[in-house]
């Protein structure tokens, strides 16, 4: 079930990004006279630290943002990571089921937290 969820999200991401890049290609093709300005954003892969919950954390967080959003933060207590994950779910609508939210909070608190 959880694997299926991750697979669905991976597909969703592919769909979102795939669409964006397809649009790029289309607009370039339709504008031979050179009125289109385009750039290609490099795809930067940031890896999180090894630990229980890493894959879920990378998969869910990457839906909306790269995980350097995590790695740039100073070490925060569990209360801050809990508030942040809850904000992603409640404010931004991140499709993270409660049991996975717990896993992610524990992972962030352990690997990117103060340990309390």
């Amino acid at each position: 079930m959880k694997r299926a969820m991750i697979a669905v999200i991976t597909m969703l991401m592919a769909l979102l990004f795939g669409t964006a890049y397809a649009q790029d290609a289309a607009s370039q093709a339709s504008s031979p006279e050179g009125t289109t300005r385009s750039i290609t954003i490099p795809s930067v892969r940031i890896e999180l630290k090894e630990g229980e919950g890493r894959v879920k954390t990378e998969t869910y967080c990457n839906i909306c943002h790269s995980v350097d959003y995590i790695t740039m933060q100073p070490k925060f207590p569990r209360s801050q990571w809990t508030a942040t994950v809850n904000k992603m779910i409640k404010t931004y609508g991140a499709p993270i089921p409660p049991e996975d939210a717990g896993t992610i909070i524990s992972y962030l608190s352990a690997l990117y937290g103060t340990g309390n």
Binding site: L16, A20, Y21, Q23, D24, S27, Q28, S30, S31, E33, T35, T36, R37, S38, I39, T40, I41, P42, S43, V44, R45, I46, E47, I63, C64, H65, S66, D68, Y69, M72, Q73, P74, F76, Q80, T84, T91, Y92, G93, A94, P95
Partner: protein, 399 residues
């Protein structure tokens, strides 16, 4: 699309040892970078920039670019909020929609903007609301910027006021909202839309800019046009602007409330770690100065003159003076101010210092603007990490 892995293709610029230098302007860029071991990345149209985040991109300017009065386009910082940023714009197809509580709805092309409205130009500092957030104590979550989420750019474009008057404001107009081409990754994520009160929107200096430093905007800095609200934090400077809407009530969507708000107190601050009772939208920039040279950790020679230099700016008022201390704030001297190119620009300053005895020295600079606004010696705190303008100590060694 290119695809690469951080550990292999990105690099750190570090130097093993500080060089002894005492002549103004000859501190190598590497020395400034040496105290800042963050990753440098190369994004399209940009120079090597400090990576905060890659998607959406948040790229910080290496501080040695602030030796220049005007920040080169390729070095201006980048900050997007939502993942689907515009990477391709056909200016034949692109239109700026102006509508809402107006006599008519307009769909302006880039050529319309250039042909139908008077062109204006001024130099203005753009600065992220969270510039300096990483210096907050206690630390706060958010983009962990140091001092490089700012830059000084000569913008050209047209007055927002002229566009609004051309559309014709109807009675009861309260605010104007601004939307860009960027889109969130999920429909549940709020689109990045900002607003200004109608009186602010009608001020002479609010610009819809289509040039930065005499060139078209860079894609990552908001091509084809962006809003310029000089003197105010750049959260309002909506990039890739595509829609201007005149509205009859206060705009209260996510990026105005609860995001980008400061405590409703005279300092915009609260007791560190506490929550404000009431908040207001962030607005004018606080007064700041920054020592660029000598960089922290520099080793200087006793008896040799060194030029302490940097920049200063405030939220729309001229800088009246900058004072410099070489003894951790005990005594102060006036710095010499560089050319004043307008109240929205930063000004360069310099002070010649001749340390006589070997030892550790702490340099400080403090700016005051024409209405008396200055900088605190202790960092003012708020929960979002905004308005940073502390007098920052720079430690150097004379040996």
């Amino acid at each position: 699309m290119s695809d690469y892995h951080v550990s292999r293709r990105f690099f750190l610029k570090t130097v093993g040892a500080f060089t002894v230098l005492s002549i103004a302007g000859e501190f190598p860029a590497e020395l400034l970078a040496a105290v800042d071991e963050r990753m440098l990345v190369k994004y399209p149209e940009k120079t090597d920039m400090i990576l905060l985040t890659s998607r959406p991109p948040q790229l910080e300017t290496p501080i040695h670019y602030f030796r220049e009065l005007i920040t080169p386009n390729e070095a201006l910082y980048v900050r997007w909020h939502n993942a689907n940023i515009p990477t391709s714009v056909d200016t034949e197809q692109w239109r700026l929609k102006v509508w809402g509580n107006t006599e008519k709805e307009m769909q302006l092309s880039l050529n319309d903007l250039k042909a139908k409205f008077e062109k204006i130009t001024y130099t203005a500092v753009s600065q992220c609301s969270g510039n300096g957030r990483s210096f907050f104590e206690p630390r706060v979550i958010g983009g962990q910027w140091k001092n490089g989420a700012m830059g000084n750019t000569t913008w050209s474009g047209v007055r927002l006021k002229d566009i609004l008057n051309s559309a014709g404001l109807k009675q009861g107009s309260v605010e104007v909202s601004f939307n860009g081409l960027d889109m969130p990754a999920l429909p549940s994520v709020p689109d990045f839309v900002k607003s200004l009160p109608i009186d602010k929107a009608l001020e002479d200096d609010i610009m819809v800019a289509y040039e930065m430093n005499g060139r078209p905007l860079l894609m990552l800095n908001g091509f084809p046009v962006r809003l310029i609200v000089p003197g105010w934090y750049a959260t309002y400077w909506v990039k890739a602007l595509s829609e201007i809407t005149v509205i009859t009530k206060q705009f209260n969507e996510f990026w105005m409330n609860p995001a980008y708000r400061i405590p409703d107190t005279p300092c915009g601050c609260v007791e560190p770690g506490s929550k404000p009772n009431k908040t207001i939208p962030i607005n004018r920039m606080t007064t700041r100065s920054l020592i660029i040279d000598p960089p922290a950790g520099a080793k200087l020679r006793p008896g040799s003159s060194v030029t302490v230099s940097g920049i200063a700016f405030s939220g729309g008022y001229a800088i009246k003076d900058v004072i410099v201390s070489a003894d951790n704030g005990k005594t102060w001297n006036k710095a010499e101010l560089g050319k004043d190119i307008g109240k929205y620009s930063w000004i360069q300053w310099s002070y010649t210092w001749k340390p006589l005895k070997p030892g550790n020295y702490t340099l400080m600079a403090k700016a005051t603007n024409s209405v008396g606004e200055s900088q605190p010696f202790e960092g003012l705190w708020n929960p979002s990490g905004y308005l940073w303008n502390k007098v920052e100590p720079v430690d150097v060694k004379v040996q």
